[in-house]
Symmetry: C2
Subunit: 236 residues, 2 copies
DNA sequence: GCAAAAGTGTTCACTTTACACCCATGT
DNA sequence: ACATGGGTGTAAAGTGAACACTTTTGC
């Protein structure tokens, strides 16, 4: 099992290495976080819903592997993706020693539609509260991903990744209420957001709503970077 | 290169998997963070200083591998250890594809002494500002570990891991000043610490110091857990 | 006109910050 | 007696939390 390369002196069997991705989406109507699962077509656990993922190839980095799997299995490209944690209990995979580098991803509602359009027909969204039983240690990975999201969303502007390009302040507030599992005060929330000056008013408003139309905003990346440079911090 | 196990359909060469550890120590006199490096005895980079680490064995978890390497190479046992990040650029190791799961560890001055006593004679402490050039992507790993420590120490009680069992408030303050690279106000700092009620006064005081003797405190794990249960948070 | 969500200010409590002096001890 | 670091209080500013009504729109 040792390598053919002369300089290589590793004498133990090598584990296989996979990436697994926790893809979060947001259902603002149902007020739920969603996670994307795919129906496995290979053993073990063929037919079961599982996190999208697969083996890391020889000439790609871990990030590239995660991006490729999301593209191939979920039809998702160019989305927020960040490494979560690596899982390596010896018995976590019945096939043998498999180490999984887990990632989490955040996708906007626009990107949701990509799933239907591509060959990722085995992918589906599940309410985070109604996830079926998952193979391997995918439940544990999912739990950790949710904790990471919950912890990070408060002090990094990653929540916007879950919203459409243009969104209302109410949608943004609902996002935080869903992720943080708490109610927020509307006036305090809006003041806080406005104070940071990281949103731009698109000038557009809601159409055909049976109440006063809300303004659409979008996240201003440049303004956020300026905020950081000024020693301020994003914070909800 | 495919596995002998029938159920296993992975057709790509497997990467090797290593763990690498960034071990931090604190030099309160010199007011510097230190990092432990070991002199490599194997190629590649034999003779160079590098992060302690090595290959993950077949029947051990990633955590166990990191613990074993620290024991074998640094004579360190039972210390704070947490996974940092996994590094997997295809060219990061000249031997071929090697994925490294990085950890960071915090050791108290008492544990420093372990190094001299064991067979870890190739281990040595370096001021964080005076680290020699490191092989592989170890510099990048070290940088990320430092950022993680800097970020985490403010809202988790992990700083205590770098102090002796019993410490003075000034030592604790100096710890934060060193890690956060900032000056703190003594009165405000002490008030903050006391308000959390997570330290116990050991009743002991400094001996043979040419000034009023400081009290020794120790971190009260149980009190901290109570604080958490009360919905409060550790914070500096 | 009514239902439904948008938008907007003020007060109070608490936390953070800035700041200076006396105390205990060894030499 | 002096040098050294230990230990302590107070006032001002800023931040976070609580709280209710008017506006706009579609039906």
């Amino acid at each position: 099992m040792s390598s053919k390369k002369g300089a290589y002196s590793y004498k133990f069997p090598r584990p296989a290495v996979t990436v697994d991705c926790v893809v979060f989406g947001l259902d603002l109507e149902a007020e739920h976080l969603k996670v994307m699962l795919i129906q496995r077509d290979l053993e073990p656990f063929a037919g079961q819903w599982a996190l999208p993922g697969g083996f890391v190839r020889e000439h790609e980095s871990l990030n590239e592997a995660a991006e490729r799997e999301l593209r191939e299995e979920a039809g998702l490209d160019n989305i927020f993706l960040e490494q979560l944690y690596s899982f390596g209990e010896p018995q976590r995979d019945p096939r043998g020693r498999v180490i999984s580098v887990a990632y989490y991803a955040l996708v906007s509602p626009e990107a949701h539609e990509a799933i239907a359009s591509t060959d990722a027909r085995d992918a589906a969204w599940f309410d985070l509260e109604e996830v079926p039983s998952l193979p391997f240690d995918h439940k544990q990975i999912l739990t950790m991903a949710k904790e990471r999201l919950k912890g990070k969303v408060r002090y990094r502007p990653i929540g916007f990744e879950l919203l459409p390009e243009k969104f209302t302040l109410s949608q943004l507030q609902r996002l935080y209420e869903i992720i943080l599992e708490t109610k927020l005060d509307k006036r305090n929330f809006q003041r806080k957001i406005h104070r940071m000056e990281i949103l731009v008013d698109t000038g557009e408003v809601q159409q055909n709503v049976a109440h006063r139309a809300a303004r659409f905003y979008s996240f201003d990346e440049a303004a956020y970077k300026q905020l950081e440079r000024d020693g301020q911090e994003f914070s909800i």
